[in-house]
């Protein structure tokens, strides 16, 4: 903690009788709720004055590290700059103060945003249409897989229960498939990190619903055999799903629709600059080719000569494959709005440079550091790449230690211990927004840490020292879980 006073929980600052609110007087008289429907004891929420609350949370923010604080090379997360103009337009009362069930002629501006974003994403992806309803990338995956299953089910093809997923995939891919009722079949990677087409072939058959892929894959490599893979899957009757987690380097370079993908999701908090928000809210729009548009979740925005309308069928007793719902309304609207503002700010000419600059930055770091860090796969990478720990394995310093030491130097750590293909994985993704000066600073510190590992390893093993807290005991946390204030004081 940054100091003793501000390390408290808000509950510990509570003083009965203090308040931080003011409400109008009751002009309506007093009505009674039947006593059998009342809670017996009050919820023990804090009682504080306004300044105490404001200080408490302002000081919380000081113990955090965001993209606005410093370089955040967290692989696979695309921690790009979150433009402030997005925040400004998302705070306009015309957007924040409308009820989702207002008549549609009173929310045409909001629908224009949803529609505009969907159409922009379709153009960027080379697909026919998008839904902006899924709340997050994981829910986007789930939605996309449900669309694939809907497509097969509508044709009466019920034996397609398997989905093929590469062994290098994000853990969420198999989890989404399982939650969607699909059995996962794993396909292996070749020594150079790409899907092994020969290993894929024997897996194909009339029980395959489709295949999920990330391209570039989690190693930051472009799956150059994608046309052949897509053809194999299509020939056996399956659909191709594109996990948009790594879409950023493809901006201006290639489109999933052109690669042969039929369904995809986009993480707008990665590629389209909406804030990560400490873990959310994000957004996971899902796009499809033309003949799958009917399966997109509802409500779905349409543009007609009378303005924007909603495709929102009446509910039926039996589940209707054309009436999928993945949330109460239409996703994290204010997040979609930010993504749209970003797209319009960059415009078509700058969007096309996102992929190239992101890729240049990643390759530059890789080339500058591969003398000290183990590069398992040589050659040009896309927007990110993986080191397998320090080159010198004799020091006892692990990837975890390097990550913690980076915090001491004011950098966020890369993604560590993923992908699982390497024991000491360290996945670095710089994004297009970082200048050469920033990258050089990071490179210098990474060299410094490698030198420390050789000369004074204990310094690295004991890191971090300069952060508000030291290394945490996560075994204690999981063995004897204390998950709230009440459990904390009862302990």
């Amino acid at each position: 903690m940054n100091n003793r006073l501000y390390g408290n929980l808000i509950f510990e600052l509570s003083q009965p009788g203090c308040k931080a609110y003011s409400l109008p007087k009751n002009e309506f008289g007093n009505y009674e709720l039947p006593s059998n429907l009342k809670r017996e004891k009050d919820a023990e929420l804090p009682e504080c004055d306004e300044l105490t609350v404001v200080r408490h949370y302002t000081n919380h923010s000081g113990n955090n590290f965001g993209v606005d604080n410093g370089f955040y090379p967290l692989g696979s997360c695309t921690m790009k700059y979150n433009p402030t103009i997005n925040e400004e337009v998302a705070a306009l009362p015309g957007f924040t103060s409308v009820h989702p069930m207002q008549p549609i002629n009173t929310v045409q501006g909001a629908l224009a945003v949803q529609y505009g974003l969907a159409k922009s994403l379709a153009s960027i992806s080379g697909l026919a249409d998008f839904t902006v309803n899924p709340f997050a990338g994981a829910q986007g995956e789930f939605t996309g897989l449900m669309i694939i299953r809907s497509y097969h089910e509508k044709r009466g093809d019920t034996k397609r229960t398997k989905i093929i997923i590469p062994d290098s995939a994000h853990g969420t891919n198999p989890a989404s498939a399982a939650v969607c009722g699909l059995d996962v079949v794993e396909v292996k990677s070749t020594a150079d990190g790409l899907v092994d087409v020969e290993d894929l072939k024997p897996l194909l058959g009339d029980d395959i619903a489709g295949m999920m892929m990330t391209n570039p894959n989690t190693l930051g490599l472009f799956e150059k055999n994608i046309p052949e893979i897509a053809k194999l899957i299509h020939d056996c009757g399956g659909l191709m799903y594109y996990d948009g987690a790594n879409l950023n380097p493809m901006l201006g370079v290639a489109r999933p629709g052109d690669m042969g993908f039929d369904v995809m999701h986009i993480n707008i908090h990665k590629t389209f600059s909406t804030p990560h928000g400490g873990g959310g809210p994000g957004g996971g729009p899902v796009g499809v080719r033309a003949d799958l548009v009917e399966f997109l979740p509802k409500p779905h925005v349409l543009k007609t000569e009378n303005g924007y309308e909603l495709d929102a069928p009446e509910a039926t007793a039996e589940y209707n494959l054309n009436n999928m719902h993945v949330g109460q309304f239409m996703g994290n609207f204010l997040i979609s709005l930010r993504a749209y503002a970003y797209i319009l700010t960059l415009g078509k000419e700058n969007l096309k440079m996102v992929g190239p600059y992101a890729t240049l930055n990643a390759n530059y770091i890789k080339e500058c550091l591969k003398d000290d860090y183990e590069l398992p796969i040589e050659g040009i990478c896309m927007h990110e790449f993986v080191f397998d720990g320090l080159k010198d394995k004799s020091t006892g310093v692990t990837t975890m230690d390097v990550a913690k030491r980076l915090l001491d130097y004011g950098y966020h750590a890369p993604t560590i211990y993923f992908p699982l293909l390497f024991h000491e994985a360290m996945m670095i993704e710089p994004t297009e927004n970082e200048s050469k000066r920033t990258l050089d600073g990071f490179i210098e510190i990474m060299h410094t840490i490698a030198r420390e590992a050789r000369e004074t390893p204990q310094v690295v093993l004991d890191a971090p020292k300069n952060t508000p807290i030291g290394r945490v005991d996560d075994v204690l946390a999981a063995t004897k879980p204390i998950l709230n204030y009440r459990q904390s004081i009862n302990q």
Partner: protein
């Protein structure tokens, strides 16, 4: 070419290309088959200046009509203290990622722990998670836990007094999970206990989902429901409007195994449907079955009390295809919003605000019924929302809209579901009643 988010000077780009060993920035993609390279133009306008962006979005914002809101149906026009948007605009909060590196994420971890504490208090359950996407998906996740933890039982019951938008989501999730989702009949606007017993007797029930207050705003009496469920090892899931739990009998008191719902009622802007956040809490026994992020207390190397993501072995990135949920995030910033809200309103303020809505709703209902043109649909205790049947409902609705009032949410042929919060004044109510 130069653009405000691309910091590379021409010289720097050249130096970097030299280091990488390619001539031109586009040569970085030489490994991509030529046929796949995108050579066209995106169907997107050219870059707009900041002035143009402001104008563009201002114009769209002005096409949305801000109204005096008597609509609810899960989304309520509540007051929120002005300090909240100020604090959550701090970019240390909103530009950070999931708090994997605990040493530089105590801000996020700390407030999530406080959020979990508040949800546990409000719902009267042992433990809560760090939040979920929204109330409907939190309910669907509880359904999935129930189905996964029961041994091969695949039927889930839900009360037909549930919000139909939640039911739409349950139906979707259930279909693809192979869950047999069956509705419990309603009787006089509340869940039929008789039908619940009858459907339980058919066997194979993994869980039962009810809502409080229900879709019609009615505070239901769930006495005995938990026993009926537990007798057959089915989980009892109660969905509630978070703010109302400051006064209402809680899921914990009803004997729920899981409490779920949306926290929008804790001050979040209506924002055309999102972002909000779902909450989920459960009994100690169910703790390790609960999906979603969870933050726990522990110690650091210096002996300080600190917070960290915990119980991660439950999560999708470890379980992979054995996962029962694929969620790998939370609506963290919205959780921060309601944590500050709950800190500022506090123990007394939340009750006071909720009671204002409750009293206001009863006052408005009396006034409307007194005109003789509106009739309360069910003779049941309601909370801050009620269903009335109105002759010429559509004409009344349209007239209200013309007058800048959103009078409620239409239900059936002549029903109107009307909600009142602490923001609604007597004058606004009089204006609405005058249009009847």
């Amino acid at each position: 070419m130069n653009f405000k988010f691309f910091p590379h000077t021409q010289e720097e780009t050249q130096e970097m290309l030299n280091k990488v060993g390619v001539k031109n920035i586009h040569d970085l993609f030489a490994g991509i088959p030529e046929a796949l390279r995108f050579k066209g133009e995106y169907d997107i306008p050219e870059a707009k200046s900041e002035i143009e962006i402001r104008n563009f979005f201002n114009k769209l914002a002005n096409q949305n009509k801000i109204m005096t809101c008597f609509a609810g149906a899960g989304v309520y026009d509540h007051y929120a203290p002005s300090a909240i948007p100020q604090i959550i605009s701090r970019s240390e909060f909103y530009t950070s990622y999931t708090p994997y590196q605990a040493e530089i994420s105590q801000g996020t971890l700390h407030y999530i722990f406080e959020f979990q504490s508040m949800i546990a208090e409000l719902t009267n359950m042992d433990v809560a998670n760090a939040s979920m996407y929204d109330g409907s998906t939190a309910t669907a996740e509880a359904m999935m836990v129930a189905a996964a933890q029961s041994n091969k039982k695949k039927t889930m019951l839900y009360s037909k007094t549930l919000n139909p938008k939640i039911v739409d989501v349950l139906k979707t999730y259930a279909h693809f999970q192979g869950i047999n989702l069956v509705g419990i009949e309603e009787e006089e606007g509340v869940t039929s206990k008789k039908d619940l017993e009858a459907k339980m007797a058919e066997g194979g029930v993994a869980g039962v989902i009810v809502q409080q207050p229900n879709y019609y705003g009615i505070a239901e009496d769930f006495t005995g429901f938990a026993d009926i469920c537990h007798k057959d090892k089915a989980l009892f899931v109660v969905n509630s409007v978070a703010a109302d739990l400051s006064l209402l009998k809680t899921p914990g008191e009803w004997g729920a195994d899981f409490a779920v719902g949306d926290v929008q009622s804790l001050g979040l802007p209506m924002a055309f449907g999102g972002p909000y956040a779902g909450y989920m809490s459960c009994t100690q026994k169910m703790m390790r079955k609960m999906p979603g992020r969870i933050v726990g207390q522990t110690k650091d190397a210096r002996g300080q009390r600190v917070f960290v993501l915990t119980l991660q072995a439950r999560e999708q990135h470890i379980r992979r295809q054995k996962a029962t949920s694929n969620i790998c995030s939370n609506q963290s910033l919205m959780a921060l919003y309601v944590t500050i809200y709950s800190s500022m309103m506090g123990k007394q303020g939340l009750k006071e605000a909720t009671k204002l809505g409750f009293d206001g709703a009863h006052y408005l209902c009396e006034k409307m019924v007194a005109t003789g043109k509106a009739k309360l649909a069910y003779n049941q205790p309601f909370f801050n929302e009620f269903l009335v049947n109105i002759e010429n409902r559509d004409a009344f609705y349209d007239k209200a809209i013309e007058n800048g009032i959103l009078p409620g949410v239409k239900v059936g042929k002549d029903g109107l579901l009307i909600a009142v919060t602490e923001k609604r004044t007597k004058e606004e109510m009089e204006a609405l009643v005058a249009l009847l």
